[in-house]
């Protein structure tokens, strides 16, 4: 994660390392030179030399998490736990949203912001609720996301929340030049914020507008920071990386429902294991009229929309 902004001159030599071996010496030398060239004095040597999440050994991951937790504690003055729960075996997550019940109250949007430590300023929101015309049907041309009446639902309108569709063939993963984003075994598309270079190809590739870029240094009041986080999910992000919905990976891998499901006052949001025939999501898929958003693009979302009536 390099920052190309020439803010400060390189802060001289970083702390002199204990050059035990040739490998360590070369690593440090390269890091020093690279940092001097790119001018990113804020990134520590360890962070600069860190590998992709999928290549980390258990010990490396442990030290990285300890470092992150320390950084967060310094920044937010409270203990932030960074988890790395692996995918549960025999689980592929699926999500269904009842278009006939959603009233567009945006409770989910704000619960998501709170749960997932999204930047309040500049504002980032992973869920976008589209207000659509009943006469037009699901048509992005007639969608409005800035609606703000006294009461919802409004006459002759329906509401369609859009978030990451956790595609089976994710175009965002395909275009990533560095492999900083990938699909986990349980179907969640995740981002390694420490590996992302901020090229935003994935944002261009995503047909759902589900990825968001940290243009500025994300700001969250330390009182609002959710201290229960996941490495690939809601841990506070640095500037210059892309982030997205992870089905609340820090909750769902522990067996909890995502925050948006828990908050929805109309019960429009359904979540469960696609491989469990008794789960709510399977019942929906088997007995309701279901569609996938932009199905023609063959992204094969595991996020479904249905009509419950």
């Amino acid at each position: 994660m390099t920052d190309l902004r020439p803010t400060q001159p390189p802060a001289g030599d970083p702390e002199t390392p204990a050059c035990g071996s040739r490998r360590e010496f070369l690593g440090t030398a390269v890091a020093t030179v690279a940092m001097a060239l790119t001018g990113c004095g804020q990134v520590s040597k360890e962070e600069f030399l860190q590998h992709n999440f999928r290549e980390l050994s258990k010990d490396e991951l442990k030290t990285i998490i300890a470092r992150l937790e320390h950084e967060y504690e310094e920044k937010y003055h409270k203990a932030v736990k960074v988890g790395n729960e692996p995918p549960l075996p025999g689980v592929i997550f699926g999500y269904a949203l009842d278009l006939s019940r959603c009233i567009g109250c945006r409770r989910c949007v704000h619960a998501c912001v709170k749960e997932n430590n999204q930047s309040r300023d500049p504002q980032i929101q992973w869920i976008r609720v589209l207000q659509m015309d009943k006469e037009e049907g699901v048509d992005i041309q007639h969608a409005e996301q800035y609606y703000n009446p006294e009461e919802v639902p409004q006459e002759s309108h329906f509401y369609m929340p859009v978030q990451c569709q956790q595609c089976k063939r994710p175009p965002c993963v395909k275009v990533c030049p560095v492999g900083a984003t990938w699909k986990e075994k349980d179907g969640i598309v995740v981002v390694d914020y420490n590996w992302c270079i901020g090229c935003r190809y994935c944002m261009a590739a995503c047909p759902y507008g589900a990825r968001h870029f940290n243009w500025g240094e994300p700001h969250i009041d330390s009182a609002d920071v959710n201290p229960v986080t996941h490495y690939l999910g809601n841990r506070p992000r640095p500037k210059g990386v892309v982030e997205k919905c992870t089905f609340c990976i820090q909750r769902t891998r522990k067996g909890l429902y995502p925050a948006c499901v828990e908050i929805c006052p109309t019960g429009s949001r359904k979540f469960g294991n696609l491989l469990d025939a008794k789960s709510e999501i399977r019942q929906v898929l088997e007995s309701k009229r279901v569609f996938k958003f932009k199905e023609d693009l063959n992204t094969q979302p595991t996020f479904f929309y249905f009509y419950g009536v």
Binding site: R5, T7, L88, V91, D98, I103, G104, C105, R106, R107, V109, H110, S119, D121, P122, Q123, Q125, R128, Q145, Y146, Y147, N148, P149, E150, E151, V152, P153, W215, G216, E217, P218, H219, K239, T252, G255, L256, Y257, V261, E262, C264, P265, T266, G267, K270, F271, G272, N273, D276, K278, S279, E280, Q283, V284, S287, K288, G308
Partner: protein, 273 residues
């Protein structure tokens, strides 16, 4: 001509080996083969059934399906035990001391036994975990006023002197009257169209008489809201947690603030564009 062959011999001579094996497999699943029954009668039932109780957490399990007699939280008595004990005495295989011990055990069990099925406040008869119905403050139990003594039961349709707040909003189909759902004899209960009483915690049975499709969807988790754990214990909201039973249409809400338009998003300190 169609000749019907009576299918009364379960172990018919014409039955192939594979068919009987399949049947045995089915029985084994149901736990009703002779071996299974013997095994069940030998092992302590309280532990034997625990794994099943774990499974039952997930789903709906009716009372008829219970194989242990409900005897309070301390002991579950398996029918096979009773059977064994009596047979043991009859055949003389149990010594009188053993029998006395067994009798003591059973007596203790009955002493702890409550009423046959005592659903807790929050659990409905089908084993579905539901929250408390959203009663207005101080209105429940209804029998604190409607005790049948100080107030005589009057089943005539009329304007009530009380409960104006309900009468004003009552908007649940045409010609609705309190005693269509509330029970006149026991005011702390509701009743179905058949007259069968229903607890307030199981009011979904009442709603399901007309809204059967919704009840069907609610049972499998399509309609309504569940919270808790997607792979474990779930809380189901009752119909009345979202729909006021006297005026069931879902009420409009004030939306939370809309997103900021991109042109108004301020860059945090140090931000560049």
């Amino acid at each position: 001509m169609n000749i019907r062959v009576p299918n009364k011999t379960l172990m018919g001579p014409r039955e192939g080996r594979r068919a009987s094996e399949a049947r045995n497999a089915r029985r084994r699943v149901a736990g009703t083969t002779r071996d299974e029954r013997d095994a069940a009668s030998r092992r302590p039932p309280a532990f034997a059934r625990r794994d099943e109780a774990g499974q039952a957490l997930r789903g709906v399990r009716s009372l008829e399906q219970r194989t242990t007699l409900p005897c309070g939280p301390f002991l579950a008595v398996h029918p096979a035990w009773l059977h064994r004990g009596l047979v043991g005495v009859l055949l003389g295989t149990l010594s009188p001391i053993q029998f006395a011990g067994l009798a003591l055990l059973l007596l203790t069990a009955t002493a702890f036994a409550g009423p046959p099925v005592k659903p807790t406040e929050s659990s409905a008869p089908e084993g579905i975990q539901v929250p408390k119905p959203p009663f207005s403050e101080g209105i429940f139990p209804c029998s604190s006023c409607h005790d049948g003594k100080s107030m005589k039961v009057d089943t005539r349709r009329r304007e009530l002197g009380m409960h104006a707040e309900i009468q004003e909003i009552l908007h649940h189909g045409p010609n609705r009257w309190c005693l269509d759902c509330h029970d006149a004899q026991n005011r702390d209960r509701l009743h179905l169209a058949s007259g069968e009483p229903v607890a307030f915690t199981a009011s979904y049975l009442l709603c399901g008489q007309c809204h059967g499709d919704k009840l069907r969807d609610w049972r499998v988790g399509i309609h309504g809201k569940r919270t808790g754990s997607w792979n474990g214990q779930k809380q189901y909201l009752l119909c009345v947690n979202c729909h006021n039973p006297h005026s069931p249409h879902f009420k409009p809400l004030k939306p939370m603030p809309p997103p900021t338009r991109p042109e108004y998003i301020k860059m945090a300190k140090g931000g560049v564009r």
